[in-house]
């Protein structure tokens, strides 16, 4: 059975894939379907959903098109979630590999730094970082990665500690390979599978953190974000609850989709490794 077919043989993976595909389609088609500024006024304020079919999900307090905002917000959520997770996984794997492979003082220093980051709640860290440096998309990505790289670092280190005792590492040393080449050519690629297995949780957490930062007004002010939309709707929660509910549902479905698809991938690779 091909990996793709095996992946699609579990209902979770199918559901996750459908949700993620819809999200990516939204993000990619945002500027095609809704050209122009999504933050521009498009109609009367506080129009409820399903009243005017040119504004299917209604408008917010300032008369902005909720559907357009939703599509452009998908773009921000996805971009920040993926970028922050990629940064966290990359930094974590490199730090974990160096610590585990070098051992001794290098390991001690790197792991104490990891401890320091882990003792501060990651959301507080992101909050403090954005407050000090100022909100922009890149800063939000860095802020989220700051709090999440420690998990991948610990997993990578544990894996590297077991891999560095294997014969093929001894064999690479015996042919005279440079220690850094051994660490990044021989050890790291084989330590990655369990680290990558964490990626779905990290992406999901990053999307939620981004939403939370935006909700608190610390997102990039020039971009539409789902967290910002929920915050917007909060003031009129009693009279126009849909303004908070619609982006809220989008957020839940996105996180669910990322998680389910990630689980499906982990399951597929685990089955493959179990077989060989």
């Amino acid at each position: 059975m091909s990996p793709v077919r095996r992946f699609l043989s579990t209902p979770e993976a199918v559901a996750g894939t459908i949700l993620l595909t819809a999200l990516i389609a939204m993000a990619l088609s945002a500027s095609l379907l809704f050209p122009g500024d999504p933050q521009a006024i498009a109609g009367p304020a506080l129009l409820p959903p399903f009243q005017d079919w040119s504004l299917p999900l209604g408008t917010d307090r300032l008369g902005r098109d909720v559907l357009a905002e939703l599509f452009h917000g998908a773009r921000t959520s996805l971009a920040v979630g993926l970028a922050a997770a990629a940064a966290a996984l990359a930094v974590g794997s490199v730090v974990g590999t160096l610590a585990g492979f070098a051992g001794g003082l290098v390991d001690e220093v790197l792991m104490r730094i990891t401890d320091a980051f882990q003792t501060v709640p990651s959301f507080l860290l992101a909050l403090a970082f954005v407050s000090v440096v100022g909100p922009s998309l890149g800063i939000v990505v860095i802020a989220i990665a700051l709090g999440t790289w420690t998990g991948p670092a610990r997993v990578a280190r544990a894996e590297v500690l077991s891999i560095r005792e294997r014969d093929y590492v001894a064999s690479a040393r015996a042919i005279g390979m440079h220690p850094l080449a051994i660490a990044f050519r021989e050890v790291l690629p084989n330590a990655l599978p369990p680290v990558l297995a964490m990626s779905s949780v990290i992406v999901a957490a990053a999307i939620l953190t981004e939403a939370a930062l935006s909700f608190l007004g610390l997102g990039d002010p020039n971009r539409v974000t789902w967290g910002g939309m929920i915050a917007e709707g909060r003031a009129v929660l009693r009279t126009a609850p849909f303004l908070s509910i619609v982006p809220g549902i989008a957020l839940v479905l996105t996180v669910l989709g990322v998680y389910l698809a990630g689980e499906g991938i982990v399951e597929t690779t685990a089955v493959r490794r179990g077989l060989s």
Binding site: R166, D167, Y168, A170, S171, A172, R173, A174, I175, G176, M177, H178, E186, P189, N190, S276
Partner: protein, 258 residues
């Protein structure tokens, strides 16, 4: 002059507060083009000696002289460069290769690291190495886990001879192979020795194989040298207690007809 001289080599481990000498004051030498076997039961220290000689682990005391130089004094780039002359083949060829690697990449590594061949020339050199160990060149793009155990051990030997070493440490290199494959690998090793004058440090618990392939043998027990000498002389009439026990324990095949 001998190729490798080991003097008073000692390696201690701490285990549960006690210090145990895995290798205890062992001395021996290997001449160019010679096969010296290290034999002994498990825990006798033979694999530890292999790793000490290759400097995969560091010794606590003693000297290792290789090709006339103090091998223990080398470090960093100088040690890595010298490793070209001293290679190793492991027991389990599957464990000794990066699980993601292809045959070609495993043979490319030594050629690249030691600057033996330019990038353009390497595919031809890899093909020549594969042919030298009795494999076809179409194996090069295959993944290591796709080929058979015997083929894998041939690739391991090709990787070891790529840098034209003067000594190869063979750590139980034929023990895990099927008997029908084992004979072919031993023939290949002997052929390489005849053609290229490579010396072998042959580590094995199988006295039958040691007697068939080695010039001299060193018997070890609990990290200490128990007996050494001509392989036939020692195995045909062992003097030490461990030598007698090893000979007595070897399975015998009585092939007289019923």
């Amino acid at each position: 002059m001998s190729l490798l001289t080991i003097s008073n080599l000692t390696k201690r481990y701490r285990r549960g507060g006690k210090t145990i000498a895995a290798v205890d004051d062992v001395s021996f030498h290997i001449d160019p083009g010679e096969t010296l076997a290290l034999a002994g039961p498990s825990g006798s220290g033979k694999s530890t000696i292999a790793r000490l000689v290759l400097r995969l682990i560091e010794s606590d005391a003693g000297r290792i002289e290789f090709e006339g130089n103090d091998f223990l004094a080398l470090g960093g780039a100088a040690l890595r460069a010298r490793r070209a002359r001293l290679q190793m083949v492991f027991q389990d060829p599957l464990a000794a290769f990066n699980p993601r690697a292809t045959v070609a990449r495993m043979l490319d590594d030594p050629l690249r690291i030691h600057g033996i061949a330019s990038r353009a020339e390497r595919p031809r050199r890899i093909a020549a190495l594969l042919e030298r160990v009795g494999l076809t060149t179409d194996l090069a793009p295959r993944a290591i886990h796709e080929i058979s155990g015997g083929q894998r051990q041939r690739v391991a030997i090709a990787r070891a001879i790529a840098t034209k070493p003067s000594l190869i440490v063979l750590d139980e290199a034929v023990s895990a192979l099927d008997v029908s494959v084992r004979g072919q690998i031993l023939e290949l090793l002997l052929d390489l020795q005849r053609q290229e004058q490579i010396a072998y440090l042959f580590i094995s618990h199988d006295l039958g194989v040691v007697r068939a392939i080695a010039h001299r043998v060193v018997l070890l027990e609990a990290g200490q040298l128990a007996e050494s000498g001509d392989a036939h002389a020692v195995i045909d009439a062992p003097q030490s207690a461990i030598g007698k026990a090893l000979v007595a324990a070897a399975p015998r095949l009585n092939r007289t007809r019923p």
